[in-house]
Symmetry: C2
Subunit: 166 residues, 2 copies
DNA sequence: ACCATTCCTACTATACAAGTAGGAATAATA
DNA sequence: TATTATTCCTACTTGTATAGTAGGAATGGT
């Protein structure tokens, strides 16, 4: 499970947008998430091109989520920043059964990251409210019980300002 | 789940040793596993230093497993070739809950790779015998059923020639 | 003595990750 | 319309890890 700095930053930025109730400047994201300023620009641009966030230029511009936080899975973000993985090198006959093992690991990882949404992560970090996270299949912090199955939570992530932009 | 060429090669080499019933030359391993010759040397050396295999120099020398194939988990091999992972970069407050998710992914991955032994992989690839793999918690190929729990298989991996070497 | 093999250190080449630079486009405001 | 704050875009630099190579020393069988 490789997590690049870029991906870590992108997730932080998305979470920052998810908790805000109005457009946020790149500057602010960079500071609060401790992302190098220009690199932050760079990442936000990539996220916008992928359709995960929207933006507005000029003074009073900023970024916001394209969809409610409850409808954006961690996997959605990670896929963008990590890009497509290079084709696996061919297996020798003796090592062929390993292919299936790698597949299973990838599947599990993918299933988990596709279940957990930005809203789930925020709920897990919020001192109040995490009690009812079990109801919607959300992610609960320490007292174990991750991914007990259940449908993806669909709550609006608090960041849905009515505003039209590209 | 990153798998470097080095790790893939190392696993192939270990499997090649696991199916052999006597010492195998680096040359032979390189050919059958399609590993660049000198690189193969390099990797075998690392595996020996880690105590996973033993060796003998000179004509009629070669390499063999230090322990039965049923007592060498994939994780044992991977740990050697991948080395220790670099310390994770600090999390911003908003992204803190992610730490636990990464932990769980790593744990699951580790648990799985620690359960599956070289002998299990060989059994999975072998046309005959994979039927009874379920008894010893082993890894079964396609007809699903991975990691049903159960203790690590302990069968001798067919490669235990009595021979003393460093 | 000869030869095949393992053993060891160090080196190179390439790719990718992380981050930077310079400025163009856009939009609010005065 | 000028100013200014912001996003937008391409391209560059730099560091680090991966993949693989080179040259030869040590060992052991015949």
């Amino acid at each position: 499970m490789r997590i690049s700095a870029r991906t870590q930053y992108a997730l932080g930025a998305m979470l920052a947008l998810a908790v805000a109730d109005r457009p946020v400047h790149a500057e602010r994201i960079a500071v609060t998430q401790e992302i190098p300023r220009r690199f932050c620009d760079n990442i936000l641009l990539q996220l916008r091109r992928a359709g995960l966030i929207r933006s507005q230029r000029g003074p009073d511009g900023g970024y916001w989520l394209a969809r409610p936080a409850g409808q954006i899975a961690l996997a959605d973000v990670i896929r963008v920043t990590e890009g497509a993985e290079p084709p696996a090198r061919p297996f020798s006959p003796a090592a062929a059964p390993l292919a299936e093992i790698w597949d299973r690991l990838r599947s599990h990882e993918n299933a988990l990251l596709s279940e957990i949404t930005l809203a789930d992560v925020i709920a897990a970090g919020d001192p109040r409210s995490p009690a009812d996270a079990s109801k919607d299949g959300g992610f609960r912090p320490s007292p174990n019980g991750l991914l007990d199955g259940g449908p993806r939570s669909t709550g609006n992530g608090s960041a849905a300002v009515g505003r039209e932009a590209r």
